[in-house]
């Protein structure tokens, strides 16, 4: 596939992620922060997010697994996940966290477990998508092209 095609494909792919609500405007902000001095900024930040999120998801799972669930702790983890997912633009994960916090407030274990499942799904979904996106970018760069700047015009 030649560079032009790859670039177009990348744009379409990215657009679809936005359309589906997997990513939001904040992701664009990240892309705009990337520049020559920091060409891998987005990849770095997103990788940080993945690490952090997985750790948080594990913590939440463990906390919900306890005999007596400490919802304050769970809420704190969810809050942090909400913050970091919002900062990278992982919209669905963020929304899942918002819903999760309601269950925490109600101290609803079942609801929380269900919500956690959902968040995990959304997280892995966005992770896959972003990894695919980065691969596309790498291919373009490897082929000698430049990664097109995304514009949220839709």
């Amino acid at each position: 596939m030649e560079v032009g095609q790859m670039q177009r494909r990348l744009i379409e792919y990215t657009k679809s992620l936005f359309m589906e609500g997997i990513l939001d405007d904040q992701f664009l902000q990240l892309q705009q922060l990337q520049d020559e001095s920091n060409p891998d900024f987005v990849v770095e930040v997103v990788s940080l997010f993945f690490q952090d999120a997985e750790k948080l998801l594990n913590d939440i799972t463990r906390a919900l697994d306890q005999q007596s669930v400490d919802f304050t702790k769970v809420d704190a983890h969810v809050h942090q996940l909400k913050g970091s997912s919002a900062s990278v633009g992982a919209q669905r994960v963020k929304n899942g966290c918002i819903a999760f916090r309601n269950f925490c407030e109600e101290q609803n274990v079942d609801g929380s477990l269900r919500c956690l499942q959902q968040i995990k799904q959304e997280y892995y979904h966005v992770k896959n998508k972003l990894e695919a996106l980065f691969r596309l970018e790498q291919q373009i760069v490897a082929a000698g092209g430049s990664v097109p700047m995304m514009e949220l015009s839709f």
Binding site: L33, F41, D52
Partner: protein, 681 residues
């Protein structure tokens, strides 16, 4: 001269940043703004750093609050602004905010993914200059420099005002202030301010303290001297100028003293407010745990800052808190004695309790207050100083106590904190937050209630109204008390008064001040127990108390409690005792309270200065003074809240006592000026 003082501070401010905010902002500004970012979330931290770098700021990132604090302490002038997350594992963002406000007086922006009103309000009451919701966009960061500039301007303005009040030679300036405050004309204000700034700058040179020093570091010794001077003068007479003279520290400007006094006052108020809150909340230490919890939230903030600032303070705080709580909550176990005493006092007579509690608190707080705000750890030395002050207070307490019959206990308390402090140091160190609360408690009875409420209450209240904006100053008069929490919390933090940092400190203090005022006016019925005392206020202050549970009905009880309450509000506890032993015990209390206030107020930037002269006049029975003092700060705030509080009650109570006093105070305080400040915001 005032101007010179202002100059000093201004120059200080200037030196601390690379630019002068008064008139000219360097062309490259805000590029190069030194930002410290604190967030435990690594993703956000990296993103923020990148965004800030893109804005051409100099960024330092940090993922732990403790590390950030030590960085700030090591290099006091190394940063211009701090951005901190609210939820952090090692330290609550608000605690960090308080510390920074007290120690470094830097503008702090809070941020969080949590956009709930309560949290945002908390930011306001704690003195954050802004609150960002995550995800933070770069556009939001581009303008953070405005907070640095605004703070500097406010500081200068305060200095000017305070200076003029004291010296009385600032008629022109005052009128200028009045002019623009009344006209609410930002442009005019800015112009006049600029003019003032320029004038001040020139005058500063002539002043003895012409040294353009960087931000003054209030070491333990320096603070001790300061406290001693405040005590000697009496809380209501402790104007920055006189304090400066008494301290006789070369190179120290009145502005430095004024701002420290303000902070000190706020701190005291907060302590008393917190302790009161805690103690009071559960009908006098019933559920100690509950109080503790409450305290920790309230006191914790104060105490923690204290503890952070110095071991002693924290420990003494813990003790006091414990005492306040009425149980030996503090692990150290020392607090118990204090607590017991307090309990005794409190139960004897609800009214007295307030007053006494305050007094007690004051004594106990003393150790704490002294230390509070002092970045350096206060070691035994401090305790010694505290002890001395405590002693003086103790004697005062005696008088007061006789009133409530608690004299001995107070004294004991006083003595105790000191020893406790030391003991606490060891024991409390581990506890950290607990300590502060204990200290706060004793004092809190009345003052704390105010303080606490101020913090929490204000938060809540202000939510509805955007208090930061500084409500019309006019209301100040009538509600010295009313504003209590609301005003304190809201208006100040936003920097309506001298800068955000002041606000922060003020917030707590204000509350205390308010509570004090209330005390004088009437007991602050922060606690349900005191409902009978504060009949009216409850409602009006509901909003305040909601969070805190304290009711500052002070205004209501103007009469009965005056004697007692005057003093206490946390602020007083501190060293206000030196204040005259007036006719009645109440007097003493009030004197103490007043002294405290004046002390506290002075800490605020020059706000106090304005007050001091007036306070003396205003305070009919000491308590009023306190009010006067608080009012100025609160004025801006009060105006908003007046409605809430059923100001009529307060007003009448206040007016009765102060008659013209407050009025003068108001004008002097230049509340309008405050309002004006907010306007630009």
């Amino acid at each position: 001269m005032n101007q010179s003082n202002c100059k000093g501070s201004m120059s200080t401010a200037s030196s601390s940043t690379n630019w002068k905010a008064n008139d000219v902002v360097p062309d490259q500004f805000p590029a190069g703004l030194r930002v410290l970012v604190v967030d435990d979330d690594p993703t956000c931290l990296v993103i923020l750093e990148k965004m800030l770098r893109t804005c051409l700021y100099e960024v330092t990132k940090c993922n732990r609050a403790e590390v950030a604090l030590s960085m700030l302490r090591e290099n006091k002038n190394g940063f211009d602004i701090v951005i901190s997350d609210v939820h952090m594992p090692d330290m609550d963002g608000f605690k960090l905010l308080e510390h920074i406000g007290l120690e470094m007086d830097l503008p702090v922006i809070m941020m969080s993914a949590d956009d709930g009103k309560q949290v945002v309000m908390k930011g306001v009451t704690h003195g954050a200059c802004d609150y960002l919701i995550k995800p933070v966009r770069i556009e939001a960061l581009k303008n953070i420099w405005q907070h640095v500039v605004r703070k500097k301007k406010n500081e200068w303005k305060d200095l000017e005002q305070s200076g003029s009040v004291e010296e009385g030679d600032r008629q022109p300036k005052l009128s200028e202030d009045v002019d623009y405050s009344s006209s609410a004309n930002e442009g005019n204000w800015k112009n006049s301010k600029k003019r003032k700034d320029e004038e001040e700058e020139t005058e500063e040179r002539d002043d003895t303290s012409t040294l353009k020093k960087p931000r003054v570091v209030w070491s333990v010794e320096l603070h001790q001297q300061f406290v001693a001077a405040v005590n000697q003068l009496g809380i209501d007479k402790a104007v920055p100028k006189k304090i400066l003279e008494l301290m006789n520290v070369p190179g120290l400007t009145r502005e430095n003293v004024a701002s420290h006094l303000q902070k000190y006052r706020l701190y005291l108020r907060r302590l008393s407010g917190v302790s009161q809150h805690q103690g009071m909340n559960n009908s006098f230490m019933s559920p100690q745990d509950a109080t503790f919890g409450a305290m920790s939230s309230l006191n914790g903030l104060d105490l923690q800052t204290l503890s952070v600032t110095g071991q002693l303070p924290a420990q003494s705080l813990a003790t006091l808190q414990a005492a306040g709580l009425g149980r030996s909550t503090t692990k150290s176990g020392i607090p118990m004695p204090l607590v017991d005493q307090r309990n005794l006092f409190s139960f004897e007579n609800p009214k007295l309790r307030f007053g006494e509690g305050q007094q007690q608190q004051m004594s106990s707080n003393k150790p704490m207050n002294l230390l509070h705000g002092i970045p350096t750890t206060m070691e035994p030395k401090q305790l010694a100083s505290l002890h001395q002050s405590a002693q003086s207070i103790g004697s005062m307490n005696m008088q007061v106590n006789t009133h409530g019959g608690q004299g001995s206990s107070l004294l004991m308390q006083m003595a105790q904190p000191q020893s406790r402090g030391q003991i606490l140091n060891e024991s409390t160190s581990s506890h950290g937050p607990r300590l502060p609360s204990s200290i706060g408690q004793p004092i809190m009875t009345n003052g704390i209630a105010g303080g606490v409420i101020g913090r929490n209450g204000i938060g809540d209240n202000s939510r509805g109204t955007g208090y930061n904006q500084v409500p019309p100053s006019s209301s100040m008069l009538s509600f010295p008390m009313n504003h209590t929490t609301e005003l304190a919390g809201n208006s100040f933090p936003l920097g309506s008064s001298p800068g955000i940092s002041n606000a922060t400190s003020k917030g707590p203090f204000q509350e205390e001040g308010n509570s004090e005022m209330k005390g004088s006016a009437g007991f602050i019925s922060s606690y349900d127990i005191f409902n009978d005392l504060n009949q009216h206020q409850h409602k009006s202050h509901d909003w305040e108390l909601q969070n805190v549970g304290l009711h500052f009905d002070a205004s209501q009880n103007a009469n009965p409690i005056q004697g007692n309450l005057d003093v206490s509000p946390s602020v007083l506890v501190h060293q206000g005792y030196s204040s005259s032993q007036r006719s009645g015990q109440n007097r003493n209390a009030s004197a103490v309270g007043r002294a405290m206030f004046s002390g506290v107020e002075c800490v605020e930037q020059g706000n106090m200065q304005n007050f001091s002269p007036h306070l003396n006049n205003l305070l009919v029975d000491n308590s009023i003074r306190v009010k006067a003092e608080t009012i100025p700060d609160a004025n801006s705030q009060t105006t908003l809240f007046t409605e809430h509080f059923g100001q009529d009650d307060l007003m009448s109570a206040l007016l009765k006592q102060q008659q013209g006093g407050i009025g003068t105070a108001e004008t002097d305080f230049d509340l309008d000026g405050y309002s004006m400040d907010n306007i630009p915001v």
